[in-house]
């Protein structure tokens, strides 16, 4: 079995050298995106007949994405599911699996969250919210785990099985939303709205939420946990590492740090936020799911490059035979990878239902199309969690801005898909750009020396 073509040497992406790292490998993706936009512009010009229209279109895109009233907020809102879904796809790719079923897992996660969100009306948020997200996670994990298991045991190609699971998911959710889980009290075909305790807090409403001591406690615990991890990471990276080498000492310091932060949040943040809070009403749709998404990104990075499990998954993806030799259980790895992937995709669905939708429920025509885009994002970012954040942001901006673009210039939103597909094409085959931008001399040399591994002896 030959080695992969797209995997680059597996160095740990380290946030410390982020800037240096970003520059070099950024070249190709950036160029691809730029050229894709140019070609997209050409298409608009040709099909609409006027250069003016093209300018209006791109102007609308830019304004809609960032500059207008709620531009940035909405862009971030659109980015959140992209982050989760692309991470899901990336985890699959790293293990050598093509999880095209993220769309279906997204739906299943959504329905699970919608159900749990409304079936327990009187549970405090500190329990309800995590529970609902857990439901989404489990739903997505199960939906992806099935094709994963089938692949591992029978070799059924996961591309096709996951796509089939997508269609089954669509029908299933349609059936559930219009039948067993339908809202009796509404004329619209949708699930009953979730209880407020299950909603993901919008950034604008945080001060209000924090007034409830239980909520403040929940927030404090969560932030304290993050603080603990942060402290641990900082200690590990700096020279303090040697000073506090002892495991016990390290834990002590970190816990102390976490405790302080936690108390601060619990005691100080609620009153302070009442007085001053930077997120105004503009941000009443942007929710803490963003924080969760970034955390998920870090989590995936840590998982893949810092843990034994991640090592196993990457090895299976790079060379399954060597993985077996190394004692790695391939079946388990495939199922676990798919489950994690599905879990991430499911969370995306849950987050969409609990954070964004107007009714905080799942409507019948809950279309997303986030799925295929995420595959493109993951490929554009070469499955690197940091790159995924950037690419997801770009796609979120495009998706959001497309509405204003269409309003402004009449150009259909679908041009975005075209541009994205082109960008993906160029990233997948970077040599195409080289040909297009005609570095002729280099090309000539390349042709005379065929790419060979080892000339025979």
């Amino acid at each position: 079995m030959s080695e992969s073509k797209m995997t680059q040497p597996e160095l740990i992406p380290s946030p410390k050298t982020t800037f240096q790292r970003l520059l070099k490998p950024l070249g190709t993706p950036l160029l691809s995106i730029a050229i894709a936009f140019i070609i997209g512009g050409l298409v608009i010009w040709l099909t609409s007949g006027s250069f003016q229209t093209m300018l209006q279109a791109y102007e609308g895109l830019l304004k809609g994405a960032f500059l207008k009233q709620r531009g940035l907020s909405e862009t971030l809102v659109a980015t959140i599911p992209y982050i989760f879904l692309s991470l899901a796809v990336a985890v699959g790719f790293k293990t050598g699996l093509f999880n095209i079923g993220v769309e279906g897992q997204f739906y299943i996660g959504a329905i699970c969250a919608a159900y749990v969100g409304q079936v327990l009306p009187n549970v405090p948020a500190i329990i309800h919210l995590p529970l609902t997200l857990l439901a989404a996670v489990l739903g997505g994990a199960l939906w992806a785990g099935i094709p994963g298991y089938l692949k591992a045991r029978t070799g059924a190609h996961e591309v096709i099985t996951t796509i089939m699971m997508n269609y089954i998911a669509f029908r299933l959710v349609e059936f559930l939303v219009s039948g067993p889980v339908k809202d009796q009290y509404s004329t619209a075909v949708q699930t009953p709205p979730s209880a407020k305790s299950a909603w993901l807090w919008s950034l604008a409403s945080i001060p209000q939420r924090l007034q409830d001591p239980l909520n403040a406690l929940g927030a404090a615990l969560f932030i304290a946990f993050l603080a603990y991890l942060l402290a641990r990471w900082i200690i590990g990276r700096t020279s303090l590492k040697t000073r506090w080498q002892q495991g016990h000492q390290k834990m002590f310091i970190c816990s102390g740090f976490a405790l302080i932060i936690g108390l601060l949040i619990f005691l100080a943040l609620p009153p302070i936020s009442r007085i001053y809070w930077p997120f105004t009403d503009q941000y009443d749709r942007l929710h803490i799911g963003l924080l969760l998404a970034v955390c998920a990104s870090v989590l995936v990075w840590w998982l893949l490059w810092k843990t034994t499990l991640g090592f196993e998954l990457r090895t299976v993806g790079a060379n399954a035979n060597a993985a077996r030799y190394a004692g790695i259980n391939i079946t388990r790895s495939i199922v676990v990878a798919m489950a994690i992937s599905g879990a991430l995709a499911g969370v995306a669905g849950g987050v969409e239902v609990l954070g964004v939708s107007d009714c905080h429920c799942l409507p019948m025509f809950f279309s997303s199309g986030y799925g295929f885009d995420s595959i493109a994002i993951s490929l554009l970012a070469k499955n690197d969690p940091l790159g995924i954040l950037a690419a997801a942001f770009l796609f979120g901006a495009m998706r959001n801005g497309a509405d204003l673009m269409e309003l402004n210039s009449g150009v259909s939103k679908y041009i975005i898909s075209l541009i994205q597909a082109l960008a993906l094409l160029f990233v997948a085959a970077p040599a195409i750009i080289r040909t297009l931008v005609s570095f002729r001399i280099r090309k000539q040399i390349k042709e005379e020396h065929p790419i060979s591994t080892r000339p025979g002896g």
Binding site: M1, S2, E3, S4, K5, M6, T7, T47, F93, T95, G96, L97, F98, I100, P147, L150, K151, R153, T154, G155, A156, H157, E158, V159, I160, T161, I163, M164, M165, Y167, I168, R171, F175, S178, G179, G317, A320, R324, I330, F372, I375, N383, S412, Y414, I415, S417, L418, I419, Q420, A421, L422, L424, L425, A428, A429, A431, I432, S452, P455, G456
Partner: protein, 365 residues
Amino acid sequence: MRTITQTKEEKRFSLRGKWWVTFLFAIFALLTAYWLLNLIIAGQCNGNCVINTLSQTLRLATPIAFAALTGLLCERAGIVNIGIEGQMLMGAMVGYAINLFSFQVFKQWIDPAMAGSLSRLMAVVAGILSTVILGLLLAVVSIKYKTDQVIGGTVINILSLGVTGYFYRQFLSQNLPAGPGTFPIIPIPGLSQIPVLGPILFTQKPLTYVMLILVVFIHYMLYFTPWGLRMRAVGEHPRAADTLGINVFKTRYISVVLGSIVAGLGGVWFTLEAVDVFNPAMTNGLGFIGLAAMIFGKWNPFGALIGALIFGLGSSVTSTVSIFRPDIPSQIPQMLPYVLTIIVLTGVVGRAIPPAAENTPYEKQ
């Protein structure tokens, strides 16, 4: 990136690729369907109804068979084509658009009936052209630039979704002139009078006949001609073919083009035979189901046909049940073809071994 291929782990339950197993399974599926049908409809489905269902089976199997044949032609030469879905979608849209607009042009000069036939023919050609362009894109990306073919195919799908969606919104969603409609049913004189078989086999629209002929033709090509022999060699052991003077790259390009032509036929089926309208993403996964049928048929044309028929059966049973039992929510039986696909892929019906060199770019040393 490479997707995992099989490593030899535990023994898997399989009825090791025996042809009679496939055949028996097909018979079994047919009988089950009939029994199920009758049960669910509690005797409301009489002889005519069954014949209609079977006729519809062949009809619905047509796009799946086209997709399977496309996949077959590409994979036998070593190119995995995941983009069939996107190709068919593009073919459907282009076919629809050309049909509509060329009709407007033609009917100014000739009578509507002739104009209709002519515009439909033009539409088929145009649809095929569009799928061939996409196919060439896949071929270039996979052969010349040696990208992973599954990624290449996914790019085709995304590209197709984007382009068809865009053009649909811009031009095809409103204020459309009246078109000439789809191909009419062409009953074969004489043969269509045969009881039972007549209505099923010989009273179909033209693309279905084309499909059946294609199955036979491709089978002949693959196993009885030099071209087929070379193609199979290229798909199994390209270096061996290379050392005998066969141009591996050219063979693969040609195979992808031929496959794309078949995909074009499959694509135009949607808008020139099935319904006279285009909806975004109207192919509904049939491209992928076609791939499953191809695997089911072990990369043989006749096997692929049987696979397509089984899936077609699933779909037609679904719609018949929906008619007679409106009390069952439509989504449940709609899931049937997809579940069936998964069952088939898990190899319950024999493990299939694909052409050895598929998804491996050929490096001329």
